[in-house]
Structures are given as C-alpha cells and as structure tokens.
Symmetry: C2
Subunit: 244 residues, 2 copies
C-alpha cells in the first residue's frame, strides 16, 4: 500500500525499452481485474513504433510523452469481439448502445488502472492522457479501430527519468460522504480548497496566466466551457459513428 | 503483483466490521490514483447503515452482497464540488456535459480500482456491482445525490467468508493488439473462446438455461438486447436529469 501512497505521475522516461515479456506479464495481471459477467469487453492497443506514435501525437495535443515513452497503451471499449462471438454462435448481440459504452468503459478502466499499479510496483512510471476522449476520431484512424471499438484512455509507460515532487490532494473529507451526499456550504468550499490555494506553485500559476483566482485558470485556460461543449458534441458523434 | 494475479471476486463476507480508520486509510491510497488536472472530480458514498443498504438493494436487483457486506461504496462522478468552487471564485464552470461525464467516470473508476487493490492487499474481499448504471435513479434517491453527481460503480467490501475458485480469462492474444487493431476472423473467434466453451461449469450453464450455446445464455438470459436498449434510454434520461 506504501507504493500506492507514494506514487506520482512520470512524464519523462529513460531511452530504454520495456521487454515484451514484462509488458505481457503486467497486462496479464491487469486482465485479472473485475469485468462484467467475465465478458472482458475491452482491448488494448500497444504502440511501440515511432511512426505510429507520431500519428497518435496530434490527437494528444502533441504532449511529448506520446513520442518519448517506449510504450503507449490505448485502452479501448470493445464490444466487437464479444458480438462476433455471439453472431458465430447463433446468438443475437445487443451491445451497440450507451449502456454498453459505459459498461465497456468501466471494464477497460479497471484493467488500465490495474496495469498501472502493477507497472509502478516494477519501478516503471506511467502517465494517463485524458486527451483520449477529446479527439477520439484521430485515434480511431491512427490505430484502425473498427465499429464497436472506442478509445477510452491512454497510458504512456517507461522507466522514470525524473523524480517529481508529489502533488497535493483534497482532504479526505472533501471526497467521502457518510450514508448520504452532504452538499457543500460556501464555508466548506473555502476550507476544502484552502490548502490547494495556498500552494506557491498554484499562486505562480495564477500570475503566469494573468488571472485573479486559481479556478479561473481551469475555466478560462485549461478546460474551457466552449471547448467542453464542442468536445461533447464531437464525442457523441464519434460514439454514434462507432456504432454505439 | 502475485496478489493481483491470484485475486478473485468475493461475494460472501464474515459478520465483522471494517474499522473507519482502515477504510479511510484505503480510500486515502485510492485518492492518489491519477486524476484529470488534479481536479478529483469524484465522490464516494459510504453505506454502513442497514436501513440504507435495504434502500439500495432493489437498485442492485437485490444481490445479497449489498445487505451482507459491512461496507458498500458507491463511486460517483462529481462535477458539483468543483463547479461550486469555480462559482465561489469568480470563474464560470462548464462541466455539465458529456465530455465531463466521461472524464468524471475515468477519475472515479481509477480511484475505485485503486481502492480494491489496496483492500485486497489487506486481506479484504471485494465485488463490483455493474447494476449501478442500470437503475441510477434509484441510487440517486437512496443516497440523495444532487445535480452534477452520478453513480458510476459500486463496490461491496468485507472480510472473506468464502474461497472461490479463480474464474477463467480469455488468452492474452484475444485482448492485445500490436500497433493497430487486428480484426478477428471466424477461426480467431473459435480459437479464442475454445477454452471458455470447454469448461464444465459453462456447459452446465447452457443446460440449466436450456440454450444451445454459451453465447445465447448472455444474449437471451443475462444481458438481453431489449433490456440494454431500455437501460440505455433510461441512463441518458437520468444523465440529463442530473445536469450532464
């Protein structure tokens, strides 16, 4: 449990490969994670080839980890394999819908996180790319994902070449609710975000972005309402296009 | 890594509590999981009270674990806390949309799975309830979840009172694709599902359900097309109702 507590995201990697045996061993552990009805409605695309990474990079806004990590893993919702099995066994599948998009994403994400825990235990460093659902169509094209397959998250993995400081987290009481949801009063919000707002790196962040509050850095710079709305519409259209 | 490989889902629990200190320690580890922009857009509702469990049970089709586990955890997408912070800091949030429903579910599921790994390392047993997204409105009411909060998965947890055999998984080559997605030929499907179909418990499953193939048990009995479609429409409506 100490490894889980001490972990940090790693964005810089040594120029050193991950052996296929080690990678497969880690994925083997990952696939023991819980899965709906033991159906395993996910697939993992392994990218090692430099040209393929170069194709993927723009989908992730050219974050350098895509091209500098020895291995990039794209975890996908996959209802295709299961549906093909059904069709080949005189059974009529019905998994091309929102419920199974969500169920597939649960399956894929539990496997992804188990992979990350196993990888970190072996001394590897990982970074999740939340950009996966921003430009899904570019990833679908780069990895040639057919209908009923959808990229839900990406993990870059390699041997660490940095030792970053651990970042803050909200206090436990911000996240945990006993029995029912306890809504936040203005005082609660002030108290729960006080530590985050007190950090010098966050004050620096406000200055650099020429904003008045840390929250404005999120809403006006990093994750803007208008971008979120365009991406939501785009995500829905690509979900439909992929058959969900 | 051996613990990850040897794990199995536990559905029967000893009548023995989990101390609040242990539970909080496990959740503390869980909240070190990766989270988008360090925003932690999730909440966890802890259910210990028998009456509350009884209210939750029907939403999970009365699976006995809900009432027999000492602790039930409902992991929720939560854009409410973050949005309240924005509003209180002169920032205009824009997280009431599909993109952030999906991003919140990634966040919540990485935390959920890290919790499960930490719990199993301490000798606890866990079971995921995929039913969470089947009847979200019942859960929303039982746990009093307000707008911008949505239950994405549920974990029952307790000290194991059973030692079940480990269930099968598909071979690695069924899940892993090198560089691009390699679509499955009919021969691939036959080969990849052969072991699963050869298991005596699965043959028994076919007989008990009076079906011709194992796939038909899934499509005709367990996860039916018409149910999936009704649940998808319902899920979409509840997502809208919760403000996404």
């Amino acid at each position: 449990m100490e490894i889980l507590k001490q972990r940090r995201t790693i964005r810089k990697y040594q120029q050193k490969d991950i052996s296929p045996d080690l990678l497969n061993d880690l994925l083997d552990s990952a696939f023991r994670a819980s899965t709906v009805g033991n159906m395993q409605v996910y697939s993992v695309i392994v990218t090692r080839d430099a040209d393929r990474k170069a194709k993927l990079a723009p989908a992730h806004f050219n974050q350098p980890m895509v091209q500098t990590a020895p291995v990039v893993l794209t975890f996908c919702i996959d209802l295709r394999r299961f549906s093909k099995w059904c069709e080949q066994r005189k059974a009529i599948p019905g998994y091309n819908n929102l419920e199974w998009f969500v169920t597939g994403s649960v399956d894929a994400l539990l496997a992804a996180q188990t992979f990350c825990v196993a990888a970190e235990e072996k001394g590897l460093g990982i970074c999740y790319l939340g950009t996966t659902t921003y430009n899904p169509q570019m990833i679908i094209e780069a990895l040639e994902l057919p209908e009923l397959v959808f990229p839900i998250t990406t993990v870059t993995v390699g041997w660490p070449a940095e030792e970053p400081a651990q970042v803050d987290r909200l206090p436990l009481e911000a996240i945990i609710h006993e029995e029912t949801y306890h809504d936040y009063t203005p005082d609660d919000i002030d108290r729960l975000y006080a530590y985050k707002e007190s950090l010098s790196e966050n004050k620096q962040f406000i200055l650099e972005n020429n904003k008045e509050t840390l929250a404005q850095v999120f809403t006006d710079v990093r994750y803007k309402k208008e971008d979120n709305e365009v991406m939501s519409e785009n995500l829905w259209n690509v979900m439909k296009k992929q058959g969900f």
